[in-house]
């Protein structure tokens, strides 16, 4: 159960080897969180992640193999995640960034990205929401992105997939009002992780740990949207209204 100060006792991370996902898990297991389920597609990496969480203080870490695009298998995964008891927080942390130029040249790559980032999120998001409704409580966290705010030449396939996730999560959250289930949409800026390694850094770049800190705080406050860093909320409310010719000329 989530306690009165918003500290959960159990967590499931979909995308259990994601740096942001693990950073959140790492923070929560230093608090009241004892039970963690990590779902991912690389068994060896999941084990390494599980060891790390046990060392950080988790009492019970279980790993689950799954493929984001195999939606027919998602019922099984969600059942497995909830089989050992209530799950107070579910974090949907999987996703791919893709290479815009390569996707423009090979639309199949773009389709694959959309299926992982958006289709799989919808599939798992709805299934997890049903499980949380049944248990009568819980928080469901989705990772959106600043890139979801406006489409831009440099990453519009990724950005549009996150825009889909963002809109989906907002509506899902509203549909769950009064059920005891809470949905949090996280909108990070450029996060320095493996996923962005080698890319030129955007302004207001942040770290997985800073995102995790913001997520843990937003969970405690039961907030519905959180930007990381927080200043992006103001920045993006300006960017949102820039005329297209000006927006196009912004640095990457």
């Amino acid at each position: 159960m989530m306690d009165a100060l918003g500290a959960p006792q159990s967590l499931a991370v979909l995308g259990g080897t994601s740096e942001i996902g693990l950073a959140v898990a790492d923070r929560l297991v230093r608090g009241r969180c004892e039970r963690v389920g990590l779902a991912g597609r690389d068994a060896a990496e999941l084990e390494i992640a599980a060891d790390r969480l046990v060392k950080a203080g988790a009492y019970d870490v279980r790993t689950h193999l799954f493929e984001a695009t195999d939606t027919a298998d998602h019922d099984r995964l969600v059942d497995a995640l909830f089989a050992d008891g209530d799950v107070d927080v579910v974090l949907v942390a999987f996703g791919v960034l893709g290479d815009q130029a390569a996707m423009s040249a090979d639309p199949d790559q773009a389709v694959a990205l959309a299926q992982v980032n958006y289709t799989a999120t919808v599939s798992l998001g709805l299934r997890v929401a049903t499980a949380l409704r049944r248990q009568g409580h819980g928080s469901l966290v989705f990772l959106s992105s600043v890139a979801a705010e406006r489409g831009r030449a440099a990453n519009f396939v990724y950005g549009s997939s996150k825009a889909g996730v963002d809109t989906f999560a907002q509506g899902l959250g509203d549909s769950l009002q009064g059920t005891g289930v809470h949905v949090l949409v996280v909108r990070p800026g450029f996060v320095r992780t493996r996923m962005t390694a080698g890319l030129p850094e955007a302004p207001f770049a942040t770290t997985a740990d800073a995102v995790a800190e913001a997520v843990v705080d937003a969970l405690a406050r039961r907030r519905e949207v959180v930007w990381v860093p927080g200043v992006l909320r103001a920045v993006m409310s300006g960017v949102r209204h820039l005329p297209r010719p000006v927006f196009r000329r912004l640095p990457t």
Partner: protein
């Protein structure tokens, strides 16, 4: 055969309103309703709920069934000669006082509000300002009828299934649903209290005054947790006796049995965040302290004003805003530990008012009953207060190390691992629960959170 009203899903909170979970809320009217609800409870079980005054989550059951007991509120019998009262579990303390006070009887123990049910008072084994003399509510319960998850009704008393009787007193509703209980009332000479008030400018003076007040039937102190330096630990001790008719001023003499007045002030649905901040609470505490006389004896006040000051303001918990409040109540066996607890709160700079300090007398045999000899301190804090979690965890460690305890009726954030230290007879209680509810039909958010 009547049935419970169709169960609608409801989002429920405790009095602190810091967490909310969804359950099927079933308004039960009869014993059969309760038994049917227990035997038909789905996987996530059932828990009885009274007036929702527990601060945290003992009367919540996410995804399961919550039995609203407040329609089961009949007085089944009162022996006007002996003061033995048999009453259904959903009756409120307020209703009882209204029923028995004009006959010269009063509840043996009352918490700081009359808005609690008899079932809730038993499940949390509530205490009052007379604990040092009279013990807690459970000590005055001479028998109960419990609906058990196996579909049977069991009569328990200190003589009849003693283990189940005492496991239920303080048992947080997890060992059977109290259908009705027999309570020994106390005879009182009037509906008025004769109150002494003493202002204490520092902690030493306060503790000494409160210790002296052990001679009175009722005693309690308010302590300013925010004052520092030479006035740290300052407070106001009040103690009281039921007022004899001859002590009543002529102005109130003809109203010897006047009943408590209903709340006249409310709090709006929405209050600004941060209304109760460090500055406003410091000012409040200062004013509260200055308002008290240095010393006054024999002030005659209505019983409700002495026992239930907060019942004058409806929904006062809303003052804490959308994120709700947390109350922390500990009991510690000795003065050095109490001083350490007070010191930790003061240096944390957490804004708090309404800190209440009291001395407890002997414990009753309930393994999950909270009161035990020593000092008890209760204080409210907005759940949003900075670094609150760390402070409360630190307090719990100090309390556990000293052999003290934390009150589950107030708790909403305890570290579950501390429970065996805080309740050394937890295993005994668990064994009784295992006997009457092996499938854990009776469960709650509190039970899940603390792995009770």
């Amino acid at each position: 055969m009547s049935s419970g009203e169709p169960g609608g899903q409801a989002l429920l909170t405790g009095w602190g309103a810091a967490t909310a979970t969804s359950a099927r809320l079933l308004r039960v009217r009869t014993q059969d309703d309760v038994l049917r609800a227990l035997t038909a409870a789905p996987g996530r079980g059932a828990i009885p709920r009274g007036l929702g005054r527990s601060y945290g989550d003992p009367a919540l059951n996410a995804g399961g069934t919550v039995l609203d007991m407040t329609l089961m509120d009949r007085v089944l019998g009162l022996d006007e000669g002996t003061g033995r009262l048999t009453v259904e579990a959903g009756a409120s303390m307020d209703a009882l006082v209204r029923a028995v006070l004009p006959l010269g009887w009063f509840v043996p123990v009352t918490p700081g509000t009359r808005q609690v049910t008899v079932g809730g008072a038993i499940a949390t084994d509530v205490h009052g300002k007379n604990h040092h003399r009279a013990g807690s509510f459970g000590a005055h319960v001479t028998g109960m009828r419990l609906a058990l998850p196996d579909g049977t009704v069991r009569v328990v008393s200190p003589e009849l299934d003693r283990d189940l009787h005492w496991a239920t007193i303080g048992g947080m509703g997890l060992t059977g649903v109290v259908l009705d209980a027999t309570v020994q009332l106390q005879r009182v000479p009037s509906a008025w209290m004769s109150v002494s008030t003493e202002r204490a400018g520092d902690l030493d003076t306060l503790l000494a005054a409160l210790q002296r007040a052990d001679r009175q039937t009722y005693s309690v102190a308010w302590v300013d947790l925010m004052a520092g330096g030479s006035v740290s630990g300052r407070g106001v001790v009040t103690s009281a006796e039921h007022a004899q008719p001859e002590a009543l001023p002529t102005a109130v003499a003809e109203r010897r049995w006047s009943l408590p007045e209903p709340a006249r002030i409310g709090v709006p649905l929405w209050t600004p965040a941060g209304l109760l901040n460090r500055a406003s609470l410091r000012a409040f505490n200062e004013a509260w302290f200055r308002r008290a006389p240095v010393r006054r004896d024999g002030e005659v006040v209505p019983l409700g004003k002495f026992f239930h000051p907060l019942d004058g303001v409806r929904d006062w918990n809303r003052l804490y805003g959308a994120r709700g409040l947390v109350q922390h109540q500990c009991v510690v066996p000795d003065e050095p530990t109490l001083r350490e607890v007070l010191r930790l709160i003061r240096i944390s700079r957490v804004p708090s008012f309404l800190a209440v300090l009291k001395r407890f007398g002997p414990a009753d045999p309930g393994p999950l009953s909270f009161p035990r000899p020593g000092w008890t301190l209760a204080f409210d804090v907005a759940a949003s207060a900075a670094s609150l979690g760390g402070l409360l965890d630190d307090l719990d460690e100090v309390v556990a190390a000293a052999g003290g305890s934390i009150y589950l009726a107030k708790d909403s954030r305890l570290r579950p691992q501390l429970l065996p230290a805080l309740y050394p007879r937890l295993d005994h209680w668990r064994a009784v629960r295992e006997r009457v509810d092996p499938h854990r039909v009776l469960t709650s958010d509190l039970a899940r959170r603390l792995s009770l």
